[in-house]
Symmetry: D2
Subunit: 183 residues, 4 copies
Amino acid sequence: MRNKNNRVHSHDVTQAAYNALIERGVTINDIAEIVYEMQGPYNEQLQLDECIESVEKVLLKREMQHAILVSVELDRLAEQKKLSEPLQSLVETDEGLFGVDETIALGASLGYGSIAVTTFGHLDKNKIGIIEKLDTKRGGAIHTFLDDMVAAIAANASSRLAHRLRDIEENLPKNERRIIEDE
Amino acid sequence: MRNKNNRVHSHDVTQAAYNALIERGVTINDIAEIVYEMQGPYNEQLQLDECIESVEKVLLKREMQHAILVSVELDRLAEQKKLSEPLQSLVETDEGLFGVDETIALGASLGYGSIAVTTFGHLDKNKIGIIEKLDTKRGGAIHTFLDDMVAAIAANASSRLAHRLRDIEENLPKNERRIIEDE
Amino acid sequence: MRNKNNRVHSHDVTQAAYNALIERGVTINDIAEIVYEMQGPYNEQLQLDECIESVEKVLLKREMQHAILVSVELDRLAEQKKLSEPLQSLVETDEGLFGVDETIALGASLGYGSIAVTTFGHLDKNKIGIIEKLDTKRGGAIHTFLDDMVAAIAANASSRLAHRLRDIEENLPKNERRIIEDE
Amino acid sequence: MRNKNNRVHSHDVTQAAYNALIERGVTINDIAEIVYEMQGPYNEQLQLDECIESVEKVLLKREMQHAILVSVELDRLAEQKKLSEPLQSLVETDEGLFGVDETIALGASLGYGSIAVTTFGHLDKNKIGIIEKLDTKRGGAIHTFLDDMVAAIAANASSRLAHRLRDIEENLPKNERRIIEDE
């Protein structure tokens, strides 16, 4: 897993973040559907495929990948009752005043500007699509951190699409568009 | 307005922030009503008076007062067409990708923890009460920055009440309660 | 540990956060010394005791306590090699581009305003006092998350003192001073 | 300045942000020199040209351009004594507890991850290069907001280079490198 400098390679981190989502029951498509619902009203020609692509781009960011790895790990450890008390109880019950889950997700969301931040808050309050499913506890499953991360990923992909739409409306050449969008 | 150290006194800043809200048509009561709507579902004994008190406490914070002064000033200057282009147009049209208004408000909101941040995002997207009125342009009035600030004040007062409710439920003595709530 | 509502009581969370710091070798005094170094230049009458008190007040905030519990837990699990790969390697090596540790600490720091944020960045770069000791790996000890949390606590206590000093200079009555400082 | 949709075109905003910096006495080179000083220790082959390019990419982001426009406008209005009291005095004296300048700059900095945030805090405290010059008031010049913005731009360009360096060390193909760096 590590190279000669004893470092984890980006490819391994990217792959691990993808796997972590899938293993926890969240597909790219699930997230893209939230994006579609958020951005559709502003762009009637929006296709689900564009939302999927936007989610994929967001997932290439190192900051997102690291936040996903930590979030999924804490949920998993809580399910296995391996956290120390009182943290175990706080995470297990998704206690209302416990905010480290939102902090990690918001931190990853701030990178996509103000639309990402307000969309994150909205999704976090109004639990849409897969977020709602994750939030509803069933069996022993714990998704205290993951539901916030999914909201952050969807918020970022939404903000990215809003900027992209503007670039297209302004007839920016593809090269320049790419720069404004993604730099 | 300044003392011998050439400094503005806290009292003057507090007063100016209050006046700025009033002059722009926003009362403490307007904001408290949003707080009541946000926190009522979590606390059936909540009274409007407690919401008013919570808004008043939030308005005592220097960070809030400074953010209000800057926000109202920029709206006012835009109404008077005194900003340079292209900033004048960006503020005047409350352009969707312009996010400095949200940045200033969010910065003032982060001080009240994760509930404040998600509530801010929710209010900013769903425009409740006076926020909706401010957002609806009428005459030459411009409230590009103020509507976000009102969302931030209401979000902070809501988060403050959520923490306070917990303290009461836990039967903390008043002195200790105060510390957890406000320190 | 939980009451009849199945909730952890604030007292238990407070105690656990204190214990977590002590067990990881960080005393209130260690943190207060950083605060003294940061604020001394702005206030020549500053006493270490005031710095200690300021750190104690900061540690009463729920957001700080939760952030400490999560940070210490992740460091501990990494020492015990109990995190999944590649997270284990990322935390173990305190990898330079891994930023979740800073995100959690910064999130807890934003509550004390702009002085807290810039002081946090400064401490995080310039490793002062106990932060430097934590950052220097010795034996199998891992403090990837804790050094950032200590920087955040010290930054918050510093910002709190800066506001307090202003209140005293302005001869605010004790009651009002308290409100501006801590609300 | 506006198109038929009554919207300011991206090109105009980009140009205006560049002009604003130049008119206030800040060149791309000035900012690149700070970046060089910050990143040089981590990368001995770093060239000033790469720092210049990194600053230019950061300046293409809409969030940065909007933050620059607002910051420069407020400094200019303060110089012309056109802000209302007490805001005029707060900005004119760059009052220590006034933090809206840091809030706007930090908001623009959060987009480049944790290295950007800690570097911003460090630069803001330690005033390097042109930041120091801006901070030193001379004549009637006021740079209360601009010095923080320059710190944010330099911090972002530094963080961007740190990520880029890693990508090169990992021999990522140019196409993929670009994605991780800039998406």
